[in-house]
Symmetry: C2
Subunit: 136 residues, 2 copies
DNA sequence: CTCTATATGTGCAACACACATATAGATACA
DNA sequence: TGTATCTATATGTGTGTTGCACATATAGAG
C-alpha cells in the first residue's frame, strides 16, 4: 500500500518559516502581536496580565510561554527589543512590532477567522444532533 | 520567590479525567465524537475522509491520530467497540458512542463555542487596529 | 501469484505547553 | 540590617499531541 491519504500534501513539516496555522493551540503568539500592535503592552511581564484579560487563550497563560514566544518572534524578525533601565525595578526588555510582525498578525487574523467560523459551524451541527436525539 | 503569578489557580494539570479544554489542539476528538453521534462513520478508516471534509481540524488529519484518539476514548469509556468481520476486506473495528461519550461531546461543544467567540472577537479588534493604522 | 485497495496499528522524533525553579533589582517595613 | 514582597526575565523538565514512516493483515482483480 501507499499510505492511503496524503502522499504529497505539501505540508512538509513547517520548518524554517513556521506557518501560523500550525500553532493554533493556545494562540499566545497572535495575542502577543496584537498587544504590541495596540501598545497595550511593550514588555513580557505586562503581557502576562493583558493576555489573560483578552480571553483568546482560554486558560491562564504561563509566563515562561510569553517569554519564549517573544524570543522566537525576535529570531524571526517579527519584533525588535531593547533594554529599558529607566524607571524603578529590574530592567525590562521593551519590544516593538516590525513590518514582518504586522504581516504575521494579519495572517493570523485570517487563519483564526476561518477556524473560528468552522468551529461555530461545528457547534451548530452538533446542537442539531442533540435535538434530533431528544425528539426520537 | 513564590512563582509570581497564579499560586492557587486551580488548574492542577488535567490528570485522570482530562478536561476537554486542555485538548483543544487539533480538535480531532470532538470531530470523531460527532461523526460517531451522527452515524456518518463508525470505524477509523471512514473517519479519515469524513473528518477532513468537516473542516474543524484545519489541516489533513493523520490516520495514526484518529486511531489513537479512538483508543483513548475507549479507555475513558466514551466509546465501545467490537470487531466487524462481515463484508469483504480486513476486519474493521466498529465504534459506538456511550452516554459518557455524548456528555463529552456536549462539553466539547460548550468549550468550542466559547473559544470560537473569543477568536472572532479578537479578529474584530485586530481589524480595527489595522484600520486605525491606515488612517494615521 | 502479484498487485491494489481497505483497514488497523506502532515506533520515533519534533514540538508546544504546564509546571517548577533560578536569578536579581527595587521597595517597604520592622 | 535583615527579610519579605513585588517586579521582571529566564531556564529546565516532563508530558501529551502530532506528523511521518513503517509494519501487518484480508480480500478481490488480473
Amino acid at each position: 500500500m501507499r499510505r492511503g491519504r496524503g502522499r504529497g500534501r505539501g505540508r512538509k513539516r513547517a520548518v524554517m518559516q513556521q506557518e501560523v496555522a500550525s500553532r493554533l493551540s493556545r494562540l499566545i503568539e497572535p495575542a502577543v502581536l496584537y498587544l504590541l500592535g495596540t501598545g497595550q503592552a511593550s514588555h513580557g511581564y505586562d503581557m502576562l496580565s493583558e493576555v489573560n484579560k483578552m480571553g483568546l487563550t482560554d486558560a491562564e497563560v504561563d509566563p515562561g510561554a510569553i517569554y519564549r514566544v517573544l524570543r522566537a518572534l525576535e529570531e524571526e524578525g517579527a519584533v525588535v527589543s531593547d533594554w529599558d533601565t529607566s524607571g524603578g525595578g529590574p530592567a525590562r526588555r521593551n519590544y516593538e512590532l516590525t513590518d514582518i510582525g504586522r504581516a504575521r498578525l494579519a495572517s493570523w487574523v485570517e487563519v483564526i477567522e476561518r477556524r473560528a467560523e468552522a468551529m461555530l459551524e461545528f457547534v451548530e451541527r452538533a446542537r442539531e444532533l442533540f435535538e434530533a436525539e431528544i425528539h426520537e
